[in-house]
Symmetry: C2
């Protein structure tokens, strides 16, 4: 089983407007609400692939109850006193406008309770995936604790996190860290991918996988850099494509396929997610088609 942690889930609200003016009252024509957060997208894609998965997430308030009620993947909730955050995206004229709430203030006691749930669930897990930002009040060291707890339980760790959490995951010896290029350069204070990946490996990360968006995906091992180009001519909604790629990597890790095949799955799933209008969904038929040239069954 794969346990997927979403440290800072959200209610993702999309407002469709005809006219959109700053400083005015804008009538919303259509409202969509979805449980959001990178880890939930990863869990949804894994479930869609038929992988046994458990989403583990802290939730609070009515927004948290709403998220729990909407989740279609197996999940366990660790309660928070604060209200789960909401993200509002306004679409219509021009580029989407996004408002991101800071999220609830969390306490050490809440994370201790979360750690207990995680520990219990790791007993049955082959892999722990941690994906997305941490809420306010999450102390430094939390991510390292989770990595060590997974290893003690005999599970490997794939961390798709950024900032100080990325460095922590590396230092605690995460088996795979998967930043995108911007996150890698920012966290390691470098300007070149290879140097950044080297720094993460020196800190303790096993494998550093870097998603480069339209320029594909690369894995940095001590011996080599394996690069897989992006699937060409895929247009659509790139939101959640990185999370689908993470799901592909996670499934490949559990299946024990060679690294180059794991990266191909990640690239193909990322492209298959672009074809779907909603983050957390993939076009499974397109996914199989994208893998075919490599002769690998999906």
């Amino acid at each position: 089983m794969i346990v997927v942690v979403t440290p800072n889930p959200a209610v993702d609200v999309t407002y469709r407007v005809a006219r959109h003016e700053r400083g005015e009252t804008n009538r919303v024509l259509e409202v969509q609400r979805r449980p959001g957060g990178k880890g939930l997208n990863v869990a949804r894609v894994l479930a869609g692939l038929g992988v046994e998965v458990l989403a583990l997430l802290p939730l609070g308030g009515e927004a948290g109850r709403w998220v729990a009620g909407e989740l279609a993947v197996p999940h366990e909730v660790s309660p928070l006193a604060g209200e789960t955050r909401t993200t509002v995206t306004v679409v219509g004229e021009g580029h989407p406008t996004v408002y991101t709430e800071p999220g609830p203030e969390t306490s050490e006691a809440e994370w201790a309770a979360f750690g207990e749930v995680l520990g219990r669930r790791l007993a049955d897990a082959e892999l722990l995936v941690v994906s997305g930002s941490l809420p306010r009040g999450a102390r430094a060291g939390l991510l390292g604790d989770w990595v060590r707890a997974a290893h003690e339980a005999g599970a490997r760790v794939l961390a798709d996190v950024s900032g100080p959490a990325l460095l922590e995951a590396a230092e605690a010896g995460a088996d795979v860290v998967k930043p995108n290029l911007a996150e890698l350069l920012e966290a390691t204070s470098t300007v070149a991918e290879e140097e950044g990946a080297t720094r993460l490996r020196r800190r303790g990360a096993g494998l550093v996988v870097v998603s480069r968006g339209a320029r594909g995906i690369a894995a940095h091992t001590p011996e080599q850099v394996i690069e897989i180009p992006a699937i060409p001519n895929v247009a659509g909604n790139p939101t959640g494509a990185g999370d689908a790629a993470t799901a592909g990597l996670a499934q490949a890790l559990v299946d024990g396929v060679p690294l180059v095949q794991a990266l191909r799955r990640a690239a193909a799933l990322g492209a298959a997610a672009v074809l779907r209008p909603v983050a957390g969904e993939v076009d499974l038929e397109a996914y199989r088609r994208f893998l075919e040239p490599n002769g690998e069954p999906a």
Copy 2:
């Protein structure tokens, strides 16, 4: 007792941002959530004045549960299948930007159930106040039904509504209708206040009270127009000032004070609401001070 109906309540969310750009991701620094809707503001002001009040409102979904949990005034909820709407106001740079959700689609069966609750509550009421817009799916004629139900129960009616609902309230013989000037002109297809008020009275309205914002408040009777200027030199947050004025009128109706005093209370409460940053609250000390020149105890 005063029964205050809020046909289309909301979760009022305020986002404070430092920077606000359309087409960009805007980080929200502070989130405030409050139960919203004109009738709820009226009920809160009445409760603050020590008036016995019951807020009656349809609510649905997690947002509806949240509103019910936050309400500090006595209330009864009539359930909806749809999700209660949210209104997002972004404040920071320049004028506030507002996004208004359309609200839940409501059904005839839900309004029939609401009518039963209303009928039960009207048995103990001296006055019914209906304030604010109606949600989608609310059929034409609903407001007229409520006015007639109140009269049959021996209660008077004050309607602060707009559009076709304003005409319906007048036709059903609402004792007081209280549009603002723009709502009056729009609903009656006129360009002059006096003509608009005359049209509403001809349809059946008892008294037509028009709030003119900074230009005060006026009552149109068959015999005369009584005008009360706004309290001068009051700066602050005008949101909810009209609702506070409605509360002042409602209290005056129940107390049976002369019309000119009722209007003075409305004007003073409207001004006292401007002094508070939050709709539904009034500065009671300022209210008493604003009334003093007229020698009337609050």
